[in-house]
């Protein structure tokens, strides 16, 4: 019966796809806009901030070009770095260029991205196609991306490693009613190479060390395959407001399972003000080779004590406001807008301990917890 039910589901999906060619609809290129943003993240002893600029402009009727430039400067030291090294400052520059080509009901896209910092360089390209069909009620999209990273380590010129990344995405966006739209997204990531953080270490019990433990470098597997599936539902409420529910499941070959759910509410107050609020819950299990404290050095083939690979959850509360400014006299068609968004995130680690607390028996240090504040202030111009 289960097989038959699956056949029915698949054939119904086929049914819809077979109708696609006869559907009358038209894909639309994204609107021209420019954004200038200041962003800041502060939490866990680290401050990361900087500017970002994004520009999107049509060139003729069928082409839309986009460019993105982002800088972040990291300063301070996170709790894991505090235990083994000193505070640092570094700057990362990220550039993206994209082109979208409108061909009938389809948009074909190509993107290039590059990220540079003094010990890490990443380049990637992606190609995608999105097809509007079924009377404009359905959008199907496919994307493939390839990336090449070069990993260095400050203070060690002889250290040079590489990572090759590839990802494949599938998206299905569906209008369900006149006030309800949903999207199903799937992504497969295949990473191969040096996937460690070259600065982080694991700790193991060592009776000869005055602290009761010593450190050695992390060792990660050289491959990581991951699958993520998300479902977004967005509803227009009986009054002018939008509510969206976004859920995602993630799992990978390091045995990490994660789930997150986000509720977002957007409420225009007047022709000038739009307010928004969100709540997000995220939870993950640990990588199978993660431990906060190993029993002895090189206890197993792979070793990690990176808190991002530990078991933890976090809760985000976010609010935002948009203010629609009056049009400029010299450019009446352009619509300017000011935006401010603030997120507060609390991370609760379940098996990552805070080693900066002194006078506690080894392995019994308090579990680490951190609060982060994230701010985005940006000016947008739609034209």
């Amino acid at each position: 019966m289960a097989v038959e039910a699956a056949v029915v589901v698949v054939t119904r999906a086929l049914c819809i796809l077979l109708l696609l060619s006869g559907a009358v609809s038209a894909a639309v290129l994204p609107q021209d806009r420019a954004d200038v943003m200041y962003h800041a993240y502060q939490g866990g002893g680290v401050t990361i901030d900087g500017p970002a600029v994004m520009l999107r402009k049509k060139a003729g009727q069928s082409v839309s070009l986009s460019a993105y430039y982002y800088i972040d400067t990291v300063s301070g030291a996170s709790v894991d770095v505090q235990a083994t090294a000193s505070a640092y400052t570094e700057t990362r520059h990220e550039k993206r260029l994209g082109i979208d080509y409108l061909a009938g009901n389809s948009i074909i896209s190509a993107n290039y991205a590059q990220s540079d910092e003094n010990d890490y360089n990443a380049k990637s390209v992606s190609f995608g196609i999105a097809h509007d069909t079924f009377g404009g009620m359905t959008t199907l999209s496919l994307e493939a991306g390839l990336g090449d990273d070069k990993v260095g380590r400050n203070g060690d010129d002889s250290f040079s490693e590489a990572v090759k990344r590839s990802n494949y995405k599938f998206g299905w966006t569906q209008v369900l009613t006149s006030s309800w739209i949903a999207a199903l997204n799937m992504q497969v990531d295949l990473d191969e190479g040096y996937l460690n953080n070259p600065y982080r270490s694991v700790r193991y019990r060592d009776a000869n060390d005055p602290r009761g433990y010593a450190y050695q470098r992390e060792v990660y597997p050289r491959t990581r395959n991951a699958l993520a599936v998300s479902l977004v539902n967005k509803v227009y409420l009986p009054y002018r407001a939008a509510l969206s529910v976004n859920t995602r499941h993630y799992q990978d070959s390091w045995d990490i399972r994660a789930f997150d759910i986000e509720l977002e509410y957007v409420h225009p107050l007047s022709q000038y003000w739009t307010l928004e609020g969100k709540v997000r819950w995220y939870s993950q299990s640990q990588a199978d080779f993660y431990r906060d404290l190993f029993d002895f050095a090189s206890q197993q083939n792979f070793l990690a004590r990176d808190k991002e690979l530990s078991e933890f959850n976090n809760l985000t509360l976010g609010v935002g406001a948009s203010y629609h400014l009056s049009s400029f006299g010299f450019w009446p068609d352009a619509r300017p807008e000011l935006n401010l968004q603030w997120d507060h995130i609390r991370f609760n680690y379940k098996n990552f301990r805070n080693l900066t607390v002194a006078g506690v028996d080894v392995g019994l240090e308090p579990l680490y917890q951190l609060d982060a504040n994230v701010i985005r202030a940006f000016f947008s111009l739609y034209f």
């Binding site: 038959e4 056949v7 029915v8 054939t11 119904r12 086929l14 049914c15 077979l18 109708l19 559907a23 609809s25 038209a26 994204p30 954004d35 943003m37 993240y41 970002a52 994004m54 993105y68 982002y70 999105a130 509007d132 009377g135 404009g136 009620m137 359905t138 959008t139 995405k169 998206g171 966006t173 209008v175 369900l176 006149s178 006030s179 739209i181 999207a183 997204n185 992504q187 990531d189 993520a228 977004v232 227009y236 002018r240 407001a241 939008a242 995602r248 993630y250 990978d252 994660a258 997150d260 739009t274 995220y282 993950q284 991002e308 690979l309 976090n314 935006n339 994230v374 940006f378 947008s380």
Partner: protein, 75 residues
């Protein structure tokens, strides 16, 4: 051909034969609410990039946080 395959093929044919009755049920002129900017996926792309970056840096999970976009056939 075993029984299961026969049933599957019959089911496939029966479902495909009903294709003609499946039509878009939300007409373009009924999509004014979906066309409202507050209903757009990724209203602020520059902010979304930053949100995704913050999450990807501090969480093991990544991906599938975008949308194929469009879909409402508005405009």
């Amino acid at each position: 051909m075993n029984k299961l395959t026969s049933i599957s093929l019959l089911t496939l044919l029966a479902t495909l034969s009903g294709c003609a009755s499946v039509e878009p049920w939300v007409k373009p002129y009924e999509r004014d609410k979906l066309a409202d900017p507050i209903m757009a996926f990724g209203r602020h792309p520059v902010a979304l990039q930053h949100v995704a970056h913050v999450q990807d840096s501090r969480e093991a999970a990544k991906g599938a946080n975008g949308s194929g976009g469009g879909g409402c056939g508005c405009n």
